[in-house]
């Protein structure tokens, strides 16, 4: 397809099931992102919530109540006015619709309602991450949404974003055109056209042949090709995607902390990064807090576990065997996940475990995980929004999906952290929690985090790598 001047052709990895942001996984923002604005804006440099979005000037009225100012003069593509009611509706929808994937993250949110021109959000417990979370919550037009219902809305979405839905051929392309009335001013591009290609190598080929301007989410394996191509710009930047291992503390043999420690000691994270991502694209991941807020120096824990095969072996030898375990992981979800799994199995074996290697597809994996029948598990996740609580909530304590790392101290520390209004002390608490979880209980072993990789033609300007999800097309322009 020949390039219409000023239209950016993007090739993304997977086509979303729906274009309704309420029903979509956060990673699908790559597809519908150009048409929507999140309620709270994000600072492009720090990737922290900023005051330049639809909601701004927030105050925490009580530990569990927040008040937001609502930007005036913003309309949806269909002419509907964006106001406090629309913002409240957008939040309410996520809380109440059972098909909303974000609902899990919103479990602490009690409700949202307009108060005059402002928006008030109340939480069930102190929830400091609310602005971060609203930074991934999209504004949807209440009237149109209710009229159509969530499913139909997903077929021709309406947002306040810089680009307007134009045409969608399922399986092939999604076309959007510039929104001339965009509240921040018309975008530089005339439009964004998305297509999808599951295979990273093919995506790379598309930018190489000029069939696309940007390829999203390339894998480390494709790096060599795209780097070698002089016509391309390649961007590699850490994103909030990580791989970790957790143990089932409640069932033998990992109810024995020594075994957990031995296993953790056996895993050579640096080796994995070096071996599997040597061309680039990953780094060792040691802490929740420090790694989430990269700008901060990670705290050094006195008991920190680092790779030590000899110690792993001797520790294991001190526990009467046989040490039969099963290591389970889902494959085909993230770069190299099958290799990482196999490598970890090899490492555990080298330490003296007898390991059954159990890769599986994600649906099976989820089923098994939810029923808590796995002993040791490898998993990659992309955090939806950047807050320590987001890291702990699904995995640790009483809110955990898996009931692996459950004990009273976690819940106590968690409650304390949420109640803490100041950011500094709050992170102190999370550090304690992480030390307990990773180094003392050894329930959870952070392994690595990998980079986002994008390749684009030289004519693409103004690309800023996102921390997760979608690039901001608003700032991008294409030259000739």
């Amino acid at each position: 397809s020949s390039s219409r001047t000023g239209v950016l052709r993007v090739v993304a990895q997977s086509e979303p099931v729906t274009l309704n942001p309420v029903y979509s996984a956060t990673s699908d923002v790559k597809s519908w992102g150009p048409m929507f604005d999140s309620l709270v804006g994000t600072d492009r440099a720090s990737t922290e919530p900023d005051q330049n979005g639809l909601l701004y000037g927030w105050t925490r009225v009580t530990p569990t109540a927040w008040r937001f100012k609502v930007r005036e003069g913003v309309t949806f593509h269909n002419g509907e006015v964006f106001d406090a009611a629309a913002a409240a509706f957008s939040i309410q929808q996520i809380i109440t619709d059972p098909k909303a994937p974000l609902a899990g993250n919103f479990s602490a949110v009690a409700g949202a309602k307009p108060v005059g021109a402002d928006l008030e959000v109340t939480t069930k417990e102190p929830f400091p991450a609310l602005p971060s979370m609203l930074a991934i919550t999209m504004a949807v037009p209440p009237k149109a949404y209710q009229k159509e219902g969530g499913d139909a809305f997903g077929a021709h979405p309406i947002g306040t974003g810089p680009f307007v839905f134009s045409d969608y051929i399922r399986g092939a392309t999604l076309e959007t055109v510039a929104n001339p009335h965009y509240w921040r001013g018309a975008p530089k591009l005339k439009g964004v056209t998305l297509s999808w290609s599951t295979d990273a190598q093919t995506r790379a080929s598309f930018v190489q042949t000029g069939q696309a301007d940007i390829a999203l989410d390339l894998t480390p394996q494709t790096l060599r090709t795209v780097r070698a191509d002089r016509n391309l710009t390649v961007v590699e930047k850490p994103i909030d995607a990580r791989y970790f291992v957790y143990f089932n503390q409640k069932a033998p043999p990992f109810d024995n902390p020594d075994l957990r420690r031995a296993a953790a000691l056996a895993i050579d994270k640096a080796g994995l990064v070096q071996g599997l991502f040597r061309q680039g694209g990953a780094s060792v991941y040691d802490h929740f807090v420090g790694d989430l807020f990269l700008e901060k120096k990670p705290p050094a824990y006195p008991d920190a576990i680092s790779h030590d095969l000899a110690e792993a072996k001797s520790l294991l030898a001190s526990v009467p065997g046989p040490h039969r375990i099963t290591f389970s992981y889902a494959t085909g979800r993230s770069p190299n996940d099958d290799q990482i799994g196999a490598a970890i199995v090899g490492m555990l074996q080298a330490a003296g475990f007898t390991v059954t290697n159990e890769p599986m597809d994600f649906a099976t994996f989820s089923e098994r995980r939810n029923s808590n029948t796995m002993q040791a598990t490898g998993l990659q996740i992309i955090v939806a929004f950047r807050d320590p609580d987001e890291e702990f909530r699904p995995w640790v304590g009483k809110t955990a999906i898996t009931k692996n790392c459950v004990s009273a101290p976690y819940d106590e520390l968690s409650a304390k952290a949420l109640a803490e209004p100041e950011r500094g002390p709050r992170e102190e608490i999370y550090s304690q929690m992480e030390d307990l979880l990773i180094n003392k209980d050894v329930c959870y072993v952070p392994i690595l985090r990998y980079d986002g990789i994008w390749a684009m033609g030289k004519n693409v300007r103004g690309f800023v790598p996102p921390r997760f999800a979608s690039p901001d097309y608003y700032e991008i322009s294409v030259g000739s």
Binding site: Q201, L223, R278, N336, Q339, A342, N357, E358, D361
Partner: protein, 288 residues
Amino acid sequence: MTAVETRRRPAVARGWPAVIGFGVPLAVIVLLAVFAGLLPLQDPNQQNLANALLPPGLDTAGGVHHYLGTDQLGRDMLARMVYGARLSLMIGFVAMFAGAVPGIILGLVAGYYRGWFDAVVSRLIDAQLAIPFVLLAIAVMATHARSVPVLIVVLAMFSWAPYARVIRAETLGLREQTFVLSLRSAGVSSLGIVFRHILPNVAGTAFVLATLQVGSVMLAESALSFLGLGVVEPSVSWGAMLADGRDEIVGAWWIAAFPGLVITVTVLLVNLFGDALRPILDPRHRGF
């Protein structure tokens, strides 16, 4: 007037050399696979992440030769290729037979008897073929622990239907021939006709399908590995290696290229060996 000279020796005369020419390399592959343990090879599962993705060559890395390079986990490709042959050949041939035997029998019986049995078998074939292979594989693999026998069952389930359908069609034609009448007249039982007479006459087709199937099964195994449903470490198979190398095809071509190459070579050898063997097995080609 030109003398009428001796006709060219028929192609059959060259049968045996061809059988040997293709059979010997095939036997070498099988023997290597069987006696892998006795060869001076490294442990195929020995990881060495520091030496990952070494290209093939004569260089030494840490005192060890990796003539065919290493994979993403720094395992020796040569050792993995040799050990992988075991499982791959076993899977290829066992799954081929496990599919061929019921497929051929059903096809013969359905084509010969027609009637309700044919109706039932044909329905089953169609149904089987209409269900996507991935679905079948995922369902079976999700409900059974992943193991080589289960894998073979899945692959056999994938491959019986084509045999059944093709053999049935050929049988339909053969059963109308006079010699079948003559056998019926002699009181030869239907089963006797089917297995002693129709079977040899469809054997050529079955043979071709089977030799083709060896390759398809190995590749299907690879596809399963790619879906995370194939053989599981520490087992090594060419198909799984191929799946591993899939993403590296541009950067580290050798990970996929070597298993791909041996699969291709094996399939070629099996087929050419079959081609050479068939005239020798077929009495009508022998010439007396």
